[in-house]
Symmetry: C2
Subunit: 228 residues, 2 copies
DNA sequence: AGCAAATAATGAACGCTATTCATTACTTAC
DNA sequence: GTAAGTAATGAATAGCGTTCATTATTTGCT
């Protein structure tokens, strides 16, 4: 035996191992995409053998699912905590749009991964990738439906189609962000989207609605004059 | 030599060969998708060897590009012929939406192929797949911009974002169609989309407009008073 | 502490692809 | 009719995800 003692390296716990693998997978997938990022690369990055990955994950796809799952968890925790504190269907929709845009512009790597990996259709792929958009779509649709019930919105159009337009718009904006690299002006885009669908969906006639806004601005101006 | 004469089968012309290959590729890709549809399958369907395909196409991707290119050609020929005959920006936008929906619901095979194959991002893949949506987006954006110039639409929102919402909405509707198989009510969906974005984009009535101007002047006056 | 039995990790081997290329078959031009 | 040119072939290659017999480590029991 050599003079140098063979230090028995203790094995990491199951949870640690999984964390290591998922983090390496995230790195590799974000850098190379799902197709091109290979299991060997991930194993190398994690400092383990390929086979080990298959002890903890069913396959490459499951690994991607876990990476995305962890990413989404943060988003949905945040949404679930914030959404109930916001008053009004329009404002809640607005928040959902804004929060999604923040998520997009906040992590370019994951955004690219999600953007590339759209739309599985096949029987076997269980389509976790578009869960974010799907779940958000549900949240939005609920808001629109509730808004219709409470007469905030009119019902000349289908809630699901409005949500498709918002969600689809957000997807294309994310795609454009990935292609061009031009940073997203979150507030501006939020305004633009909200304006576009709101004026088309709100119950009261446009005249009254904008009049109400104008009156509000007038009052604010009057307040300012009073204080000066 | 065997008694049966070896009938010298004359080779088909270059154009015929290409047509055969592309048609087989279309069949295979539509049936199995781009990933799962293999070159061997295509070659078998076309009755040739794999190697032959590579004499006419750079690779699998080019083959897909050609399949889509041929599909799009029909669509754009139709659009280019019809669009100029339609009066009014709203009506032209409406036509583009309707024509896209017809294209989607008209060829489930290709629709699935396009739906699955969204969003290349990588340097090498030259992204032919989303050409349809991109080119339509340009047509729509032109219409919106012209509408703003001619005061048909107001400019509180960005044309590109409106088009993202329409295009993205159409994509999600196509996706939903592929997943559920439920046929699309083209006219109803066209109406729904048009209503949603139109009422949000059309110029408000003159009374409100002038009032808005008045308020703005008042606000500016207040600003001046503040600064003095 | 020592010794099974259980559990984890390994990496060579497998099967499946797209792609290439020396070889063979056909066409064309003189 | 033959030689030069062009097209077609399919076995060979390289790269991937995945499996599994083998090896290494940990755990539980006395």
């Amino acid at each position: 035996m050599s003079v140098v003692a063979l230090a028995k390296i203790p094995r990491p716990s199951k949870a640690q191992r999984i964390d290591t693998i998922v983090e390496s997978a995230r790195k590799v997938f974000c850098a190379s995409g799902f197709e091109k990022g290979s299991i060997v690369d991930i194993a190398k990055d994690a400092g383990i053998a390929e086979g080990t990955i298959y002890r903890y994950f069913d396959g490459k796809r499951s690994l991607l699912d876990e990476v995305l799952h962890r990413h989404y968890a943060v988003f949905f925790d945040d949404v679930q905590q914030t959404l109930p504190s916001i008053e009004g269907h329009s404002n809640r929709l607005r928040y959902l749009i804004r929060r999604t845009l923040l998520s997009i512009s906040g992590d370019r790597g994951i955004c690219g991964l999600i953007t590339r990996d759209k739309r599985p259709l096949d029987n076997e792929t269980p389509s976790l990738s578009q869960d974010l958009n799907r779940q958000i779509a549900v949240l939005m649709a609920d808001e629109v439906k509730a808004g219709i019930k409470s007469r905030t919105f009119h019902c000349n159009t289908s809630p699901s189609i409005v949500c498709d337009m918002i969600g689809g718009g957000l997807e294309l904006i994310a795609y454009s962000y990935m292609r061009t690299g031009k940073s997203i002006d979150v507030d501006k885009v939020t305004d633009s989207i909200s304006l576009t669908f709101l004026s088309g969906i709100e119950s009261s006639d446009p005249t009254t609605e904008s009049l109400a806004n104008l009156v509000e601005r007038l009052e604010q101006t009057a307040d300012r004059l009073d204080h000066s």
